[in-house]
């Protein structure tokens, strides 16, 4: 039986990725496997494939390392509600960061950053509006002075704001 399911799944996933890379990604994105350009990617992918197989074989007879086990145990102790809540918070932060990255071009540095910071503070459990406002203004003013004025590196104005200003 599989002793370490997590590693087995990881090994299987990596092996699948390697096969995809060998038979599709490298030929379509680099060139034939015999080309010099494809030598390094092919060598690396074969090496990862070999290691994935080793990891899958190891996971059949070796249980998770003590430190990983302790971590899992701590998570199990945390209870399903706490785990779900921390994962939801994590997903919310990733969603905010992704939206921040995509909206920066549209709504610009000031608006997007203010919105992102306020939402992030709320996600992290800060509810004092004065504190939120003070830290947000201080951070963004500091960044503006540093990049725009000191370094001469313009921060994005945003296509929407540019259109509005025109």
């Amino acid at each position: 039986m599989i002793q370490n399911l997590k590693d087995f799944k990881l090994g299987a996933g990596l092996a699948g990725f390697c096969l995809l890379a060998l038979f599709y990604l490298i030929p379509s994105q680099v060139g034939p496997l015999t080309d010099a350009d494809a030598l390094m990617p092919m060598l690396i992918v074969c090496f990862i494939l070999l290691l994935s197989v080793v990891m899958m074989l190891q996971s059949l007879r070796r249980p998770a390392a003590a430190s990983e086990g302790e971590h899992e145990h701590e998570h199990a102790l945390a209870g399903p509600a706490t785990r779900r809540s921390s994962r939801l918070t994590l997903a919310a932060v990733v969603a905010v960061m992704a939206a921040y990255a995509w909206l920066l071009d549209v709504t610009g540095f000031v608006l997007t950053s203010v919105a992102a910071m306020v939402v992030l503070f709320l996600i992290f459990g800060v509810r004092r509006w004065l504190t939120i406002a003070a830290i947000t203004v201080a951070t963004l003013a500091g960044l503006y002075v540093c990049f725009e004025l000191l370094l001469g590196a313009p921060l994005p104005v945003g296509t929407l704001i540019e259109r509005f200003l025109d």
Binding site: L10, P41, I48, S86, T89, A98, F109, F124, F147, L151
Partner: protein
């Protein structure tokens, strides 16, 4: 040589550069003191700001920030029993008991003196060892360099992964990511998926900020953190309780020098790092002590030993970086990124092509050690206020700095998306027991490894025998195999011992 040194002095010894080194020490000490932030994160966030500044000013500031953060970690380790940086973990063992006895000032000052001595020792070693190693490395051809990088990659694979196989997978993934973009020799597109943004490859700084900073915030968030609150620090009426007397310093000098030597040795070896150095330093001090039973209860040498060792890593970790282009530690890998951004390609040619800049940097490093003696002093007084900044206030600011830092260097919004992608990837890598640090170092070394490998094969007409017929290349290859076998044996023995226990 004298001309080079004079030229280096005239370039480096300016008020502007002194300010850079001092600023780095200040920021590093401040950021290192805050639990949840570490030196590598601080350097990664500072690199975008240095983009338009001179290489000397920027690199002196970043190395100063690294040194400062290593010391800064000891402030919260001593006052809160919560190391501000991982390398200060060993300092808590005796630092916090000293603080509880009302000797926090004494412990902080001993940590400072030991850190400065360790840093000076390490920088002196860098100045002495780097030129001959660089001269030796100039004799290496592509075959030797390819095998040397292979050896370094195998050593680096041991950094941060939960098993040897996972470390090697992390390294290989880093090398695979390094192949994205135009082929370095034929300029053929590789894994660009038709995107112009990927033609120049994945932007190092965006990847670095995502992997090291954003992913760390995500991991700390999920694991949940406890805000650090110390018991009220006991204040002693004895004036000697807040200062280190000359007899105390004198009796600790032997321990400090031994730890500095150990730390410098660990720093010069790629992949060993300052956490190992600090614990090794502490361990040797305890084993050689006449009073080992006092360690862990507030022994001053128990603070001096790990602090000297972890600071001695910084300068020595630059030896393989400036001579061979191989970073000795994760922070050195991040600083390597700064070298590259400023047009200085680390490797055997660096000291030949930019001797004045490199010797100038050495001078500034030594000077920054003396700044370290003065600059963190006010932080000791501000101590508890600085280190108690809640992480719920800190993390939103850090995440915004990640976004603007990734955007700032090239003003390219695609880099921000890359940063977010690697932030999430870094989180999963850590969850799966893979090592973002090994991946990052392999990403930096990957292009060099590929170029040398292909050059060597071209010289030999495509025959891989070139790697075994050249004695030095064969030596590095055998060392690589020995390293893999030794690590496997070490892991197996460690596991056996744990099971028996």
């Amino acid at each position: 040589m004298l001309d080079t040194l004079l030229g280096a002095a005239s370039q480096a010894l300016t008020l502007y550069n002194f300010f850079g080194a001092a600023l780095g020490i200040f920021l590093g000490s401040l950021l290192g003191a805050i639990p949840g932030l570490n030196g590598t994160m601080a350097i990664a966030l500072l690199i975008p700001v240095t983009y338009t500044w001179s290489p000397l000013f920027s690199i002196a500031m970043l190395v100063g920030c690294w040194k400062g953060s290593v010391y800064g970690g000891s402030i919260s380790a001593i006052l809160l029993n919560a190391p501000g940086t991982p390398e200060a973990a060993a300092t808590t063992l005796d630092g916090y008991p000293l603080a509880k006895q009302g000797k926090a000032g004494k412990a902080l000052k001993m940590a400072l003196y030991a850190s400065v001595i360790g840093a000076v020792f390490s920088d002196a070693m860098l100045m002495v060892a780097a030129p001959p190693i660089a001269a030796l490395a100039l004799m290496f051809g592509p075959a030797e360099l390819a095998m040397l990088i292979l050896f370094a990659l195998v050593v680096v694979a041991g950094t941060g992964a939960s098993s040897q196989v996972k470390g090697l997978i992390s390294t290989a993934l880093g090398m695979l990511l390094a192949t994205v973009g135009l082929d370095p020799i034929t300029t053929q597109h590789r894994f660009t998926f038709g995107s112009i943004d990927l033609d120049a490859g994945i932007e190092l700084l965006a990847m670095l900020i995502g992997l090291l900073v954003m992913s760390e915030v995500l991991v700390q968030m999920e694991e949940g953190w406890q805000e650090s609150h110390s018991e009220a620090i006991v204040r002693s009426e004895d004036p000697n309780a807040s200062r280190v007397t000359w007899p105390e310093l004198k009796s600790s000098l032997g321990t400090i020098f031994r730890s500095s030597l150990l730390g410098a040795f660990c720093g010069a070896l790629p992949g060993v790092g300052s956490i190992t150095a600090a614990f090794m330093g502490y361990d040797q001090a305890k084993r050689l002590a006449k009073n080992p039973e006092d360690y862990g209860k507030g022994e001053l040498k128990g603070v001096a030993a790990p602090e000297a060792a972890n600071n001695a890593v910084c300068g020595a970790a630059l030896i393989p970086l400036v001579t061979l282009g191989i970073p000795g530690a994760l922070s050195a890998a991040v600083i390597m990124g700064a070298f590259m951004i400023h047009g200085l390609a680390p490797g055997p040619m660096l000291m030949t092509e930019h001797p004045e800049t490199i010797y100038g940097l050495f001078m500034l490093l030594i000077l920054s050690d003396f700044f370290m003696l003065v600059i963190p002093l006010p932080l000791m007084k501000l101590g508890q206020w600085v280190i108690s900044v809640p992480r719920s206030y800190l993390f939103p600011v850090i995440l915004v700095l990640c976004v603007i830092g990734a955007y700032g260097t090239q003003q390219n919004l695609f880099d921000v998306k890359i940063m977010v992608f690697f932030g999430v990837l870094g989180y999963f890598l850590k969850k799966w027991g893979l090592s973002p640090a090994a991946l990052l170092i392999a990403f930096i070394l990957g292009p060099m490894a590929e170029v040398y490998l292909r050059q060597a094969l071209k010289i030999s007409g495509g025959s891989p025998l070139i790697f075994v017929t050249k004695p030095l290349a064969l030596g590095f290859l055998l060392a690589t195999v020995a390293m893999i076998l030794w690590t496997a044996y070490h892991h197996r023995r460690g596991k056996g011992a744990k099971q028996a226990h």
